[in-house]
Assembly symmetry: C2
Homo-oligomer: 399 residues x 2
């Protein structure tokens, strides 16, 4: 039978990343593809103890809960955001979501009519693009340099397109691994205020910071609570399986998103919310994050060393200051989408850069994750990858 | 600041049920309002043991998982559905969702363009109505008697409105507590086939069946897998906090919904999915369900006894054969929406009937839950409620 789907499904494609995950999980492939933390570093004992504590609070804890999320956890998140300088949100301005992905989705659901415009970096987080497009929003890319968006281009596009929102990942962006300067952060907020546009600040990676001495102030910390929505997640610092993220923002918007969430799924898994609350109280999460920073920093350096000695002509990249990804540009003759199959055959996987672009795709780009693999696997996988790219160039294959 | 929300938020209102929950949780009120199971009956030890087992499987279990859900759980759900006669789905036709609410939401997301028509019973599950309306679908009510929809009216409306879907809760419906006859179940499927329309069969309560000897065949069991989507949940039989439901249906539709779910939240809490899998293996869930059936049956009878001796003029109801609700019609002079505040002041809460209606609301209807309160609280609360209604009538208050 042929089913009559809604028009919006045109924009729903299984993400390259997720579909790859499926294939790769079943094969013996070194994967630099997914945005996965390393499960060997998961605080299993801490999580297990937190669940035991939650079960001790009795059966009532397992009942239906408020859509907004477990109140003590929201309070605790406000305290944790304050440490980052974000002071303008109270627990009523926080919504617990099923990962920060759901925060992007619910925001889009309450904000976008078909044809409404959102401005983004380019390239940017591809699963956010998929959400915006699934609500038939028009995504317009803003030009950037290595320090963030170009404010002239941003202002011109604010005037031209009258967007509803600016979506940014200013700290260790996905996929480009950039960090915005404080000047750019202030400037984007001033422009948002001038043109009455909200900023959606997506910060899943902010905690994975390599240089202890630098300060990357969230844009939300510069705002008085009117213009910025700030989202983050426990998926990268604790474990993904609990699917617990949050969004803080202007109360009117959070309230509307909570109503959308009621329709979407009533509330997120509350046992996990309580467990995360206990984890934050009883387990030294900050020390755990320190360990992750060091470990992931070492792995980044391992990958960097392989890149440096690769001798690949036309290779360029920015050395990440945190987060989970290297963003590479390889020789312009190489099409990373077409080469992926050969790479997987060789035993290594990555994400081709093309789907991260809003405007014209650069086919010779790719994203490499360095957090999921151990250093020896990183070396091994990088050597495979360099071989695939070298071979393709030697054979003069212009894909 | 004033924010420019999407047009679809017009249809997003906080549900009466959920907002009540919030108030009532903070007060000393006997609540017949929410669709809550009794937390005193939760299988806490079983759930805790299942989590311990899950943690034993190691850190890998806490990594990101497939959007479709934990494969062994989907297999197990197919086996459990087979016991109900539902044979046409394989694990690839099953999607694990954050409660069955998300199944309704994702289905709507992939199916409805603004203005597309869905046919429903009237009254029907109000949170489903909210979802359909939030996607700007047009909901058209079909006339029913105590045995299900009237097939003449259904066929006339299939011809007239060319709907995309028929939404039904054929076993212990919410709010009306009805059970469709097998003849009606077959007939609706035949009409769906004749007019090429899918049936969305919502079955959250099917397991809470009071009469062991009767068989209520799901509509999905009569289909070959082309026309029926079947959704259910662990929220009523295990615990709501795990927020784990599922939907089975034609593979094309399930596949499209999985893509929508990727955008929505990547995947549902996978720790809970694994724990539920272990629970089903190691804990006698069916015996637990037997216990719930008996206990909830007793409570229903307690509420019934109070209704029988209430002496309220103009009272009518159908005695539920299962599920969680009594649906009452009271004297036509009473407006249950306006009387709710007085009831809460007296110490008892219910859900007014009006929001469950698609067509013209009957203001003198209400839904009472009998599963959340112990029998003595049911007696106490019912006496308060009867007093509120009696007083209103005596004072000649025509609300």
């Amino acid at each position: 039978m042929k089913y009559a789907f809604a028009k919006r499904v045109r924009h729903l494609q299984s993400s390259a990343v997720r579909d790859l995950l499926k294939i790769i999980n079943k094969q013996n492939v070194i994967s630099f593809a997914g945005g996965l933390p390393d499960d060997r570093l998961f605080p299993l004992d801490g999580v297990q103890a937190a669940f035991e504590k939650t079960f001790q609070s009795g059966k009532k804890a397992l009942q239906y809960q408020e859509t907004e999320g477990y109140a003590p956890l929201r309070e605790l998140l406000c305290d944790r955001m304050k440490v980052k300088g974000i002071n303008s949100y109270s627990p009523e301005d926080v919504l617990i979501t099923t990962g920060s992905q759901q925060a992007i989705d619910l925001f889009s659901r309450v904000f976008f009519n078909p044809g409404d415009v959102i401005l983004t970096e380019d390239p940017t987080y591809l699963a956010a693009l998929q959400v915006f497009e699934s609500y038939e929003a028009t995504v317009i890319p803003v030009l950037s340099d290595e320090n963030g968006m170009l404010m002239d281009d941003l202002e011109q596009k604010l005037k031209q397109y009258r967007p509803k929102c600016i979506y940014v990942v200013p700290t260790f962006s996905n996929p480009a691994g950039k960090v915005w300067t404080i000047e750019k952060r202030s400037a984007v907020l001033e422009l948002a205020k001038k043109y009455h546009v909200v900023i959606f600040e997506d910060d899943p990676y902010g905690d994975i910071q390599f240089n202890e001495d630098e300060v990357y102030t969230p844009i939300a910390a510069l705002d008085n609570g009117d213009y910025v929505l700030y989202t983050s997640t426990f998926s990268k610092t604790v474990v993904p399986a609990l699917r617990t993220g949050w969004i803080a923002g202007p109360h009117q918007i959070i309230r509307m998103m909570a109503q959308a969430k009621q329709a979407n799924d009533l509330h997120s898994n509350s046992l996990s919310q309580m467990a995360l609350y206990h984890l934050c109280l009883d387990f030294d999460l900050d020390q755990h994050i320190q360990m992750l920073r060091k470990e992931y920093h070492d792995r980044m350096k391992t990958m960097l060393a392989e890149l440096e000695r690769s001798g690949l002509p036309g290779l360029s990249y920015v050395v990440p200051k945190g987060g989970m990804f290297f963003w590479l540009e390889v020789h312009e003759s190489l099409d990373t989408t077409k080469l992926l199959q050969e790479a997987v055959k060789e035993g290594v996987a990555y994400v081709p850069g093309a789907p991260f672009f809003v405007g014209r795709s650069k086919q010779n780009t790719l994203r490499l994750n360095y957090t999921h693999s151990t250093p020896d696997k990183i070396e091994e996988g990088m050597q495979m990858l360099v071989k695939v790219f070298s071979n393709a160039m030697e054979k003069g294959k212009v894909y």
